[in-house]
């Protein structure tokens, strides 16, 4: 019945897409007069050969896990949440308010409080587009794009007019109190004679991201709600016939998606900068799209893809430091990954399907 075995669909197609994207990236590096193998060597050395490099790679990966999960939960309900950027921005605001205005005795309690704040603010920012999509049929892609810009303007206003300490020049909030500072990997894993992750921003929220992966897997494949989300994603009319309310599921799926995006801010705002900055998300909301596409919307795939993008980000920073290749190379690679694993998926899939059909039609040997 199937044109292709399941393993080919799950692994072969994304792998070939990825190889195509990598080949084109190599061509781009060649075209700007650098050596792709040298570049790769530098990236691997900078991102993976030292523990500090890993510290950065995992820090970036933490962001991408959250935003990747956010996009994939929405994808399961056949919603394209392109508003991760705005939701993460608002999540940052939630984190800042929780950390600045509530007295926290210990970082572990503050982490719980800030996570709740981040998720609540992120979910809230997804609520209006979700409701408009579910009730009024306004296209969620357009509304979430608009909400990204509105979020940026809102944060700008809040930082400049409300949160900026008197006399400060740069638009940023005051530094969070000491009790809310999260333990970094350096504090967690270094010993006196074996310093690890020196200066790297990776912190305990990486484990929060891993928990989120498991939680999303449980939600999507092991709960009734997850079943309803997937049912809606496969066929709205069938879901409706089965007594599933599309309005309810769309809103809930988007709330979860927004909440996951918002959680990203725990890593950046609370774990790294320890104060609210203007552009703390740095495009991670959009990278979530690439991560979700590459990870085939499965939490384990998202984890792997997020690690790959974490590596690319840290490696790209190393390249920019040691060669004349600007950091924007990563944006190009990211674009190629989105293009090949997302939009040009059929370009890889169609010939593969034909190949598998051909293999099946050929007569089997006499042994059978």
């Amino acid at each position: 019945m199937d044109k292709m075995p399941a393993w080919a669909d799950a692994f072969l197609v994304p792998l070939i897409s990825l190889i195509l994207a990598a080949l084109l990236s190599a061509l781009v590096i060649l075209a700007i007069g650098e050596s792709p193998t040298e570049a790769l060597k530098l990236m691997v050395e900078g991102a993976l050969m030292r523990s500090a490099g890993w510290g950065y790679t995992l820090y970036y990966a933490t962001n991408f896990i959250f935003t990747g999960l956010a996009v994939s939960v929405a994808f399961h309900a056949r919603m394209f949440n392109i508003g991760g950027e705005g939701q993460a921005t608002l999540g940052g605001l939630g984190v800042a308010l929780v950390c600045l205005y509530l007295p926290w005795p210990h970082w572990s309690l503050a982490l719980i409080g800030a996570s709740l704040g981040a998720a609540a603010f992120g979910a809230l920012w997804a609520l209006i587009p979700a409701w408009l999509q579910a009730k009024r049929g306004s296209h969620i892609v357009i509304t979430t794009i608009m909400f990204n810009f509105i979020a940026a303007a809102l944060l700008n206003y809040v930082l400049v007019n409300l949160l900026k300490p008197a006399g400060a020049m740069d638009p940023a909030s005051a530094t969070f109190p000491d009790a809310t500072h999260l333990p970094t990997f350096q504090q967690m894993f270094s010993t006196a004679d074996n310093p690890l992750f020196r200066g790297a921003p990776a912190n305990i929220s990486f484990f929060l991201a891993l928990i989120a992966c498991v939680a999303v897997w449980l939600l999507i494949w092991r709960t009734r709600l997850g079943y309803e989300i997937r049912a809606l994603g496969h066929s709205e009319s069938a879901a409706r016939y089965a007594g599933i309310s599309p309005v309810r599921i769309i809103v809930i799926a988007m709330l979860i998606s927004g909440g996951l995006s918002g959680l990203m801010a725990v890593n950046t705002t609370m774990g790294e900068s320890e104060r609210l900055l203007m552009n703390a998300t740095e495009g991670a909301g959009f990278i979530g799209i690439a991560v979700a596409l590459m990870g085939r919307n499965h939490p384990f795939g998202v984890l792997l893809a997020a690690l790959l993008f974490g590596f690319l980000y840290q490696g790209g920073a190393e390249l920019a430091l040691w060669t004349s290749i600007p950091r924007e190379l990563i944006v190009v690679i990211q674009a190629l990954v989105i293009l090949f694993t997302g939009a040009l998926d059929n370009m890889v899939r169609m010939p593969l399907e034909r190949l598998f059909l051909l293999l099946r039609r050929t007569p089997k040997g006499p042994a059978e």
Partner: protein
């Protein structure tokens, strides 16, 4: 506020509305044919870079314009390939194109010019100069009308007039030609067009190509008309504002003009005044920044006149067997 200040604000409204208008009409052609395009931003950015780069190397702004249009149309071709030929997700393709442009422009700019991802400043023939319309000087003595003509209508670069001329031209093409009828039909009911023996794929590629052409002009205007050279991310969300204007205009050319002028005015006001004081009540500049997006969401929500997109928008066409 005196009359001259008002004229200056309106003048910069026209300048700022021009790229929005061109990109908005570009999106209109594409979306009316059933191809969603959130890659307007990327196409404009690519065109802005290549027009500025070629203009600075050759010294000819017209060659720059051609290069800008060509680069934008290459991106359109990728979008067409992904969304028409391979029936991929048009939104994802658009996102990819935006990133591709954002990355490639800086990468190539650094490789060619080594100025931190920008082109050298354009001078002389490398820029579109402002055109003084006939009698502008002679009439400037006439009260009200004279300054209006001299400041507001005269004294823009040729591309501004091209953009405004594109509005009636688009209207005429869409509503008065056979091509326009078919183009609109292919966005509403492609199966009907196919039944009539007209190529859906051909029409959609044509629409996407026109979209690339107009985005190319928009980008070239940004880098060689509005400003003198390319800087990193110089489109600054204009492609998305154009998208918002397109929805605000309900996918119609004349409404597109008024929507773009409105959003241009918001930008001009935000540029000139930081915070606006309305008798003790201060409107922060961020509200002006966010207003186009807020208005679009309100329109999309259907509380003030519902915006209904072309029916087959976003759906790849599969011939029935």
């Amino acid at each position: 506020m005196d009359y001259l200040t008002l004229l200056q604000v309106l003048d910069s409204t026209v300048r700022l509305a021009t790229p929005l208008l061109l990109a908005c009409l570009a999106g209109l052609f594409s979306e009316r044919a059933g191809i969603f395009d959130i890659g307007l931003e990327g196409k404009m950015l690519m065109a802005a870079f290549f027009s500025a780069a070629v203009a600075s190397v050759t010294g000819s702004v017209w060659l720059g314009l051609l290069a800008g249009i060509a680069s934008s149309m290459v991106l359109s071709g990728i979008h067409g390939l992904a969304s028409i030929t391979f029936r991929g997700n048009q939104l994802i393709s658009g996102v990819a194109i935006n990133f591709l442009a954002a990355g490639l422009t800086v990468l190539i700019a650094q490789h060619w010019f080594s100025q931190g991802g920008r082109t050298p400043s354009l001078m002389g023939g490398g820029r579109f100069t402002d055109i003084t319309l006939p009698f502008a000087d002679a009439l400037s003595g006439v009260p009200i009308l004279g300054p209006t003509y001299a400041e507001l209508i005269s004294g823009h670069s040729i591309l501004v007039y091209v953009a405004f001329a594109c509005v009636p031209l688009t209207w005429w093409m869409l509503y008065r030609t056979r091509f326009g009828l078919r183009l609109r039909a292919v966005g509403e009911a492609p199966e009907a067009v196919d039944t009539a023996g007209v190529s859906v794929i051909g029409l959609r590629y044509a629409a996407v190509a026109i979209c690339g052409l107009l985005c190319g002009i928009a980008g070239a205007y940004l880098a060689t008309g509005l400003q003198a050279g390319f800087v990193k991310d110089m489109t600054a969300g204009r492609g998305y504002i154009a998208l918002a204007a397109l929805i605000f205009a309900k996918w119609r050319p004349w409404y597109a003009l008024s929507a773009c002028l409105l959003f241009g005015l918001l930008q001009a006001v935000a540029l000139r005044y930081q915070n606006i004081d309305l008798g003790g009540f201060i409107i922060p500049v961020q509200v002006m920044d966010a207003l186009p997006y807020i208005l679009t969401v309100v329109i999309l929500a259907g509380f003030v006149g519902k915006a209904i997109p072309p029916r087959a928008g976003g759906e790849p066409y599969v011939k029935e067997r």
